[in-house]
């Protein structure tokens, strides 16, 4: 393949990944019950911190002062999102407890 064909194939591949992920997302998330919507939100918030991966690449390959500042700031913000998001979701889910025993029934 020449470089142009290669690039086209790469774009189509990414498009495919994008479309399939959207479908999987809708399929899986629409099954999350309303009572877990807050943890879902903070958990998915943590997942959106995946920008950290992009930020690491940007910060690690940066040359020049502006690039370095931008990359490092991006890493910081994304890490807040990831660490905070997962920790607070865990804190919430820890509180969801099942019923211990069956109470008396009224006559």
């Amino acid at each position: 393949m020449n470089p142009d064909e290669c690039r086209a194939a790469c774009l189509i591949c990414m498009g495919l990944v994008l479309v399939l992920s959207i479908f999987v997302g809708f399929e899986v998330i629409s099954k999350v019950p309303a009572r877990l919507h807050t943890p879902l939100m903070s958990g998915s918030n943590a997942i959106s911190g995946i920008t950290l991966v992009g930020a690491i690449i940007a910060a690690g390959t940066a040359e020049g002062i502006l690039s370095i500042i931008l990359g490092t700031l991006a890493v910081t913000f994304a890490t807040v999102n990831v660490v905070g998001g997962y920790m607070v979701t865990d804190r919430m889910l820890k509180m969801f407890k099942p019923k211990k025993d069956e109470g008396k029934v009224c006559e």
């Binding site: 809708f26 690690g60 890490t79 807040v80 211990k100």
Partner: protein, 458 residues
């Protein structure tokens, strides 16, 4: 080359773990494990990225990770459950600004421009910027640092439209002239930040659940655009998952308020004060804690309907104590949860879980409405609009058609309320005048405690 292959293989594993983690979130039993699996997926993705051959300097990455990790961990430990919406709003904003910065840094370092990269970069910067400043405003409104009331001015929609068109025009220039696009990029960043402020500021505090759901979705879309720009599959997958999740939640919230997204975003709901013209038949019947005790003591089935007022009064624990006493007394006690009870989707469930209420007792609106006519007593604590029968009966009401918990159909309703003041929607509630309704006036927490002490003194 071999490292790149390894990185991409690990990304596939991470994507599987994210999806599987979300799948486990469908039940409270497995949810915690799901979150853990998702976190492991994230950890792997980050670690393997560090192995990339392109990375020349680790010091600043380490600095960013340590500072960010400390701030994130600090927030996560200290935040009150009532403050969850603010925190999620703030974190959405951080996700947005990170995508913007990644887009900017990528452009700065870019040697080879092409149409596709430029377009996705532009989208990452634009959406990231709107998400950031919009989230900061939402955070300010939720934490009451700025007014929760809609801020409206003449020509607002037109101004927003103009800014959006300018941003798009700037975007097309940026995409068409990548080499001299730098000043334009700065302009786009400024416009996107401005746009985020202007679109969120006219939205009232009560509509914030919709807004943070939507911003959640935007933060995903921004990450996804950044992923497309740097050809990174894991960013594309995760961004799309979050985007989908935010859109689903936005939809759930809009349905629960019987409003369209357009109406939420441009309606300025709650800004206009409704004239209190409607008068209701019947009279308001106040009740004492003592008489409340007699009613509850005789009840075989009780349903507690909490609203956000329960959190404001910090009455969750007192309510749980009352419920325990009722159960000891032989009654069946459940909690009816309206989808918009609280400040974000599912918020009330978290607040009650914190007060040790088992999740099986939390019943969703549709389910409780099916059997509510057989319930002996409904206790409404700190809720108003979500139990207003006007949504069913009064076609002229602004909340007409909104799904409600139909407590007025229960045998007896006890409403705990500070005064007769209306709720967020600014409308009077005919429930308070119904034959089977009793009003227990006062602070929710002290009222409940008074009833509890009646139980204990017997």
């Amino acid at each position: 080359m071999r490292v790149t292959l390894l990185i991409n293989l690990v990304y596939i594993a991470s994507a599987i773990m994210f999806i599987y983690g979300l799948k486990l979130l469908t039940s409270p039993v497995t949810a915690r494990r799901g979150n853990f699996i998702s976190a492991v997926g994230m950890f792997l993705a980050v670690v393997v990225t560090l192995a990339s051959e392109d990375i020349i300097d680790y010091k600043l990455i380490a600095l960013g990770v340590i500072v960010g990790g400390l701030i994130g961990g600090f927030f996560a430990r200290l935040v009150q459950m009532t403050q969850m919406p603010e925190m999620v709003a703030l974190f959405n904003g951080f996700g947005g600004i990170a995508s913007l910065l990644v887009g900017w840094a990528t452009y700065h370092a870019l040697g080879l421009y092409n149409l596709f990269i430029m377009t996705t970069l532009f989208l990452a910067v634009l959406i990231g910027g709107v998400t950031f400043s919009g989230s900061i405003i939402a955070w300010g409104k939720l934490s009451e640092m700025i007014t929760g009331k809609p801020v409206l001015f003449r020509g607002q929609t037109i101004l927003n439209g103009l800014i959006f068109v300018c941003a798009l025009m700037g975007g097309s220039f940026f995409i068409a002239n990548p080499a001299e696009g730098y000043p334009v990029l700065i302009g786009i960043i400024i416009l996107s930040l401005l746009l985020g402020v202007l679109v969120v500021i006219p939205i009232g505090g009560a509509d914030m659940p919709v807004v943070i759901s939507l911003l959640n979705s935007y933060s995903g879309i921004a990450a996804c655009s950044a992923g497309l720009a740097i050809s990174n599959n894991i960013l594309i997958v995760s961004g799309a998952l979050v985007g989908a999740s935010g859109i689903i939640l936005t939809n759930v919230m809009c349905k629960a308020m019987n409003r369209s997204l357009y109406n939420v975003l441009f309606g300025g709901f709650g800004a206009v004060t409704k004239e209190a013209g409607a008068s209701f038949e019947g009279e308001v019947k106040a009740i004492s804690p003592e008489d409340t005790y007699y009613i509850l003591e005789a009840a075989c089935s009780a349903v507690i309907v909490p609203g956000y007022g329960i959190a404001v009064a910090q009455a969750q624990h007192a309510v749980r104590e009352l419920a325990d006493l009722l159960e000891e007394n032989g009654a069946e006690v459940r909690y009816a949860i309206h989808p918009v009870a609280g400040r974000m989707p599912g918020h009330m469930n978290v607040l009650l879980a914190e007060a040790d209420v088992p999740y099986e007792k939390l019943i969703e609106m549709e389910e409780i409405n099916r059997s509510i006519a057989n319930i002996d007593v409904c206790v409404v604590v700190g809720a108003n609009d979500i139990v207003n029968p006007a949504a069913r009966e009064d076609a002229s009401s602004s909340i007409y058609g909104m799904p409600i918990i139909e407590v007025d159909r229960a045998k007896t309703v006890i409403v705990l309320k500070r005064s007769m003041a209306p709720g967020f929607a600014g409308i009077d509630n005919s429930l308070f005048y119904k034959e089977n309704t009793r009003m227990l006036f006062g602070d929710a927490k002290s009222s409940i405690e008074a009833v509890v002490s009646q139980f204990k003194s017997v």
